[in-house]
Symmetry: D2
């Protein structure tokens, strides 16, 4: 399993008149947290795009347990439970506030796509090599 944490301070623009973070803005928080997770591996999502791989989002699920407020310093955890085997990659996210309470969870599925041909592709080797150590091969046989 690979996990990473990133902190995001809530902007005024991200609140709405209910005095909480507008629900749609969590998509951005997750995006930033994934980008930082990849940076933590010594790569950047920008690098991947420069290599000709884009990662469109195909599925997003979010549960809002508690509100976040202006100026809150949120902790966004990014979790990769399984090493991708095909063109799909699935991340889980958990958002905690400063009191340590979980306020939002998310699950997001992205595709690896070749930007030139616009067709699905496998996870780039450069990313696989970085992630592999977090997923030791277990000897499941007898």
């Amino acid at each position: 399993m690979f996990t990473s944490e990133h902190h995001i301070r809530v902007r005024y623009a991200e609140t709405d008149q209910m005095d909480v973070v507008y629900h749609g803005n969590y998509a951005q928080f997750f995006e930033v947290a994934r980008a930082e997770a990849i940076r933590g591996l010594g790569l950047t999502y920008k690098n991947l795009e420069e290599l000709g791989v884009i990662m469109p989002v195909v599925e997003l699920q979010m549960r809002f347990l508690r509100p976040a407020h202006y100026d809150d310093l949120l902790t966004i955890r990014t979790i990769l439970r399984d090493l991708p085997e095909d063109h799909r990659i699935e991340f889980h996210h958990e958002v905690h506030n400063e009191e340590g309470r979980m306020i939002t969870t998310g699950r997001i599925v992205l595709y690896f796509m070749d930007s030139a041909s616009q067709s699905k592709c496998l996870m780039p080797d450069i990313l696989r090599q970085k992630l592999q150590p977090f997923f030791p091969i277990t000897n499941s046989g007898s």
Copy 2:
């Protein structure tokens, strides 16, 4: 079943460098479509807030089937399959582009909450009366 349709033109600001609508922005499209669905009933979501009822989003699920592009005129369908029985209301959304192709689907769950007490409440009567005619009571017994 209650359904409603609303059109939204994609703004430049809503695109990203992948030349498509940023996935998180669909949350706004759904919000606008729900607001217009309620307006079509002769009410407004603003009215509900003035009556002391707020509707925080507790769950959001989206599937992105095809991209939307700048200046596309999208049709956002809002669907209420069941009349709420408690403090929850669940909408489904479908987004079609001008070629009639479905590009995104969504499911969103909101709570009815009393804004003063910040506690869950039932759907306001004024909204129930407007929605009731779309959900005829069926005689299911013998």
Copy 3:
């Protein structure tokens, strides 16, 4: 002089915890109003981009006189006082609320740029022909 009007309904996402439209969001309202002004001429900004012309914003000035609120139906006026003579085009915007009160004004300068060469260019002829009738040539000489 060329003027055009477009209506925009304020989204929940566009408000902030001050219960008003977040000031930065007016940039989007102006963008939409300009796009609709061009559409009213029988063209689209999208067409211009397809012809290889992009229009980056180089200057934006906004004055906020009164707040706008959720669900307000705003009228955004787009004004072109002068026909562009070089690579610059300058629009003025005025935003009125439903009571007819002016709430925001804006001035924006964009460049015409050739997207291939990334160099400044003149206003495309196709747009000039549409705008010319609004700027009759006045006989200023003797």
Copy 4:
């Protein structure tokens, strides 16, 4: 003069299909930079709101000199040239990219307002005390 610097990493959501940061998003960057400037003084803008003072934006001016791109780490400088004497406060902002090139400048005017009465007020003493040391009283007479 009081100056402060804050770094902001460009989000994917903040780009548009021109492959650059959408111009309207700089308003958010400036907002974040001002909030961090105040935090650097040992206060928060949130504190001020809790004390009953809100700071609506009444004027915003931006010049876009060069584009910013996805994943750029921008430096946002916040400058207060004069200590406010009345209900107005004026900040200047400068945005530099990682190569040290200035890409955007801004000037923003906000009002101090009493949130209860919604009337203009002076800068709160708690903020004045923090800023005063940056503005030594100069003996301009002979």
